[in-house]
């Protein structure tokens, strides 16, 4: 690695050159964890992450380079974009877990991920039940009942998320552990469903607020 400006040898992953101070280009394939100099993990120290986010933003935010040459401005924009997107993902437990799984070969956000097919039947029954109950509350306009359901569903979501994290810890320790990967995937599919359910209740609540 060489600084594009002063040609000093630099270590990978640094934001700016230790000698001339110029912002360095983003490394190809840099992950959200790389943006913070972290190893992939589901256990992130949130106050530390927030502090690092502020410090690194001060280093690379485009506002600090409004008078710099175009090349450095572009690097600052790229670094800052990655930093913002990384912070948004890593500070959120669920988003972080999905991301760890994605880095390990399973992107649940893709339509062709195929996770729905091999979900256990019991989960599909659970989904049907919740859906019918919520539709009923929506039709009757019983928001309090929907909020009650939401409270219960968010407990189920936390449990599913904790299950997913446990499986992901195992997967990160043994990257070839396929049963841990599929357990994480199943747990996260549950998380995703519960999250969507909660968002729907949220939308109902917002409608009531504004209507």
């Amino acid at each position: 690695m060489q600084c594009w400006n002063c040609k000093t040898e630099t270590s990978p992953g640094i934001l700016s050159c230790p000698r001339c101070g110029k912002v360095q280009p983003l490394e190809a394939g840099a992950t959200f964890f790389d943006a913070f100099g972290l190893k992939p993990t589901v256990d992130v120290d949130l106050p530390g992450l927030e502090r690092a986010y502020r410090e690194r933003s001060l280093q690379v935010h485009p506002d600090r380079f409004s008078t710099a040459q175009a090349r450095e401005r572009r690097f600052a924009l790229e670094q800052s974009t990655l930093l913002n997107d990384a912070y948004r993902t890593l500070k959120d437990r669920a988003a972080r877990a999905f991301y760890v799984l994605k880095l390990n070969g399973l992107d649940l956000s893709r339509e062709d991920a195929g996770t729905q097919k091999d979900m256990p039947l019991s989960f599909l029954e659970e989904v049907m039940e919740l859906r019918e109950a919520l539709d009923g509350h929506r039709q009757r306009g019983t928001l309090e009942k929907a909020l009650e359901m939401a409270g219960e569903v968010s407990v189920r979501r936390s449990t599913a998320l904790a299950d997913a994290e446990a499986s992901l810890r195992q997967l990160l320790a043994h990257l070839d552990d396929n049963s841990a990967r599929s357990a994480a995937s199943h747990a996260l599919a549950r998380v995703r469903y519960f999250t969507r359910f909660l968002e729907e209740v949220n939308a109902m609540e917002e409608e009531a607020l504004e209507g």
């Binding site: 502020r54 933003s57 001060l58 935010h61 485009p62 506002d63 600090r64 409004s66 008078t67 924009l77 800052s80 974009t81 913002n84 997107d85 912070y87 948004r88 893709r110 917002e206 607020l209 504004e210």
Partner: protein
């Protein structure tokens, strides 16, 4: 003018002084950091800092901006444009154009709002705003005696991409390098934060003439992080004025007022609203009609508008994951927050008395000046950083007219997101992309930002061609879109030009036109200067000929008179350069004569002197 010299010679400011501009619905301000302190600059002869955002297009051509323009409003209601910010980035037939007002919108083709005005072609809100910006730029240049080319311009946080793009275009048109579009509540927080050195979480409640914003910010260690923002870019003090005006029209049983009556009535309504900030009742009188309005009446009329801000604030708190009680303070911004009913409402909403110790009219401009200084002054860049968000989700139209969000609202900028599209027909070689902004499920309910077609794709079986569409939002909150065909890697970059905006070519043309106008203006000024000079030298020469003409030979005298006649006749023509040459020739011809006159005066003086000697 303290600090002027320092500013000129500061090597860090090669482009002159950088300023902050609050381009408001009702008033606009320009501010700058002078000797380390942000201050609003005078914009009129009286030293006032508020430039009314009013532009008058004169029948004989020419543009007047500010208080003098507002004075023309009653006589020329349709050629005197106020509150044009409401129309920035809006399409013809937008709900904003249906509200009570004295604008005359153009009929015919084209998507952008255009106003019919006297003295020339119809103008867009972008051009009108550029006139206001140009005036502020000139006032700042006069203040600093140096050029002003760089500016931070504030926009309501809730402005969408089209409204932001329109504001940036207006800046460009006014000859400004727009360093940054800064969200108004964020600017206000910056002015407060630096002033107080505070830490904590604050809500900024910003109710201006035509827009409402609320932002929740977290300040720690010099980093201002916007947690959430919300608003309504079609709600403000103007609505209060219209509410009063509509009540009066109803009482007068006047169903079809003329544009002149509307303008006069809206001005009277605004005056009544302002009077009721301190008084319990006031008299509204317009065209012989007088009525008494009490504060309680006003509050009842405007209550529906004030209450619209409640859900917006609650949603912003929810998006930030906070309860009102967790806030460390609430900041009031915007002239409409002077209305006591608004203050009471905010206090009830957040459960605490709001802060308003910086003039709510000035605070946004002051914050913009601070940001302009931060951006151009390398020594200050380690101190403070703003991390702002996009106010509305950005997405793409998918099957069935459903909007799929790529970047959710309140995402910190700069940011990026990508989405892969596949073809759905065998041999399909093009994909249509529709970029939308908004929170609603259906595309029809969102704001359409741009449509474009990716063509030249390889004709493969359905689903085989994969195209990645990438959104990038810069620190101004402006979107650009690129698309990459995965197999070939061919990239198509599209700069998103809003559906209801101007194309780059249109802005370029307007810029060229304004440069031509600038040249015409400069020529007119030079001609005027030469004419003044001609009158001065002619008066001088005539006087000397009258008093000392006897010193000249007949031939010398006729030569001089010939040169005078030439200056006289060229004064009536339009050629400044030829006139200058004629003045110069007259000056040269007069020199020997003036020498003779001087000698005579000297001799007389000496003679007089000697007589008085004892």
């Amino acid at each position: 003018m303290s600090g002027g010299l320092l500013q000129i010679h500061d090597p860090l400011k090669p482009k002159g002084q950088a300023v902050g501009i609050d381009l408001g619905t009702t008033n606009s301000l320009v501010a700058a950091v002078v000797n380390g302190v942000p201050r609003c600059l005078p914009v009129d002869e009286q030293g006032g800092t508020l430039l009314p955002s009013v532009v008058h297009y004169a029948t004989e051509g020419g543009v007047v901006v500010g208080a003098r323009a507002r004075a023309q409003a009653a006589d020329f209601p349709t050629s005197t444009l106020a509150s044009v910010k409401r129309f920035m980035g809006k399409g013809r037939g937008d709900a904003e154009t249906q509200k009570l007002g004295s604008y005359r919108f153009t009929e015919g083709v084209g998507d952008v709002v255009r106003f019919e005005v006297a003295g020339g072609a119809p103008v867009t809100p972008i051009e009108v705003s550029a006139e206001i910006l140009r005036t502020l730029k000139r006032r700042a240049e006069a203040f600093f005696s140096t050029k002003v080319e760089q500016a931070v311009i504030t926009v309501p946080a809730y402005f969408d991409d089209a409204q932001r793009q329109a504001t940036k275009d207006a800046g460009r048109l006014a000859g400004l390098d727009v360093l940054r579009l800064l969200n108004e509540p964020t600017a206000a927080a910056l002015a407060y934060g630096l002033d107080k050195g505070s830490q904590g979480t604050f809500a900024v409640y910003d109710l201006g003439g035509g827009t409402f914003d609320v932002s929740i910010l977290h300040l720690v260690d010099g980093v201002f992080q916007v947690k959430s923002t919300g608003g309504n870019s079609a709600l403000g003090g103007d609505d209060f004025d219209r509410a009063i005006a509509e009540e009066v029209l109803g009482a007068q049983k006047l169903t079809a007022p003329t544009p002149g009556q509307v303008t006069t009535l809206l001005a009277a309504a605004r005056a009544a609203k302002e009077a009721l900030t301190t008084a319990q009742s006031t008299t509204l009188s317009v065209e012989g009609y007088r009525t008494e309005i009490s504060r309680a009446q006003l509050e009842a009329w405007i209550a529906p508008w004030v209450e619209k801000t409640g859900p917006v604030c609650r949603r912003a708190l929810k998006d930030a994951g906070l309860k009102a009680a967790e806030l460390d303070g609430v900041i009031l911004v915007g002239g409409a927050t002077r209305v006591p009913a608004v203050r009471r409402y905010v206090e009830k909403l957040f459960g605490r008395a709001p802060l308003g110790d910086i003039d709510p009219d000035q605070v946004v401009a002051l914050g913009a000046a601070v940001q302009a200084d931060l951006l151009t002054n390398a020594q200050r860049q380690d101190e403070v950083l703003l991390l702002d968000v996009i106010p509305l989700s950005l997405g793409l139209e998918t099957m069935g007219g459903v909007a799929e969000k790529l970047i959710p609202r309140n995402t910190t900028v700069p940011t990026a997101a990508a989405q892969v599209f596949t073809t759905f027909q065998d041999g399909q070689t093009a994909i249509d992309i529709h970029v939308v902004q908004g929170e609603r499920e259906l595309v029809a309910d969102c704001r359409s930002l741009a449509r474009f077609r990716l063509s030249g794709l390889p004709p493969l079986a359905a689903g085989m061609t994969r195209v990645e569409v990438r959104f990038e939002v810069n620190a101004d909150g402006l979107l650009s879109v690129s698309a990459r065909e995965e197999a070939s890697g061919a990239i198509q970059s599209i700069s998103v030009k809003p559906t209801h905006g101007l194309t780059d070519e249109q802005v370029e043309q307007m810029l060229l036109d304004s440069i031509e106008h600038a040249e015409a203006d400069m020529h007119a000024r030079q001609l005027a200067e030469q004419r003044v000079e001609a009158q001065r030298i002619l008066a001088d020469a005539s006087k000397q000929l009258r008093e000392n003409g006897d010193l000249l030979q007949a031939q010398e005298r006729s030569g001089l008179e010939g040169a005078m006649a030439l200056v006289q006749s060229l004064s009536a023509e339009d050629d400044a350069d030829t006139l200058r040459e004629a003045i110069h020739a007259l000056d040269e011809k007069a020199k020997p004569f003036i020498e003779l006159v001087m000698n005579r005066a000297m001799t007389r003086a000496l003679a007089g002197h000697s007589v008085e000697q004892p």
